[in-house]
Symmetry: C2
Amino acid sequence: MTIHGYLFRSHLREMSREECLERLNVEVVGRVGFNDDLGPVVLPVNYRIREGSVIIATGLSTALARFAIGKAVALEVEDVDPLTESGWSVLVRGRAEIVPHDGMPEPGGRPRPWADGPRPLLIQIVPETVTGRWLIEA
Amino acid sequence: MTIHGYLFRSHLREMSREECLERLNVEVVGRVGFNDDLGPVVLPVNYRIREGSVIIATGLSTALARFAIGKAVALEVEDVDPLTESGWSVLVRGRAEIVPHDGMPEPGGRPRPWADGPRPLLIQIVPETVTGRWLIEA
């Protein structure tokens, strides 16, 4: 425990749903949580919000494509500052589904993955719950 | 797709186990993935590496304490730069267990949570797999 820790000890406050959605709309990178045969996996992904759903582009043979479709998944988005030890995090939970052909977003409405490689499969998460917390400097 | 996207398109490279462990030892905040009754949950946590295991301090009635003990969990640690769209991520997978009384680390060896509130329960994840990826500017 350092003096710094005492000075900046932060506390948690629940975010409103509106605050959560506002944060989700601004960010472009999060972490998707799903289960493979061995249990939970957490991986960074680029995402985009379209009509209230999370859209993620992935390859046809990724772990996400193989294990998450039709299952409960989570997307976590956050911004924390190690200097002030404060920030926020938002968690979207819902079922992962393949975006149907007649529901394909325009190219401008799709996530733009930072990593190269083909990602022809669009997955959507229709939120069942959206929760978040502020970690505020005390 | 912006010109910026074309200029900085990055590619993925697997990290060695040594690179993963080095990153894990340096960082102090990650995201723990576990399952509650509804499926995957991903939440930010402060952690510490001790003798090769991930140590997390939590409260007695948190979701982590209630649902993760004895189950498969994951810890994801990352550092990504939105400007260059590059960075890295590491994933530790293993079973969450309560740290036994005779294995309690000295106070200096425990995680230092940024948020206030009591966190008397120490959970350890003994890694079964440690994997990571660099997202490198092309």
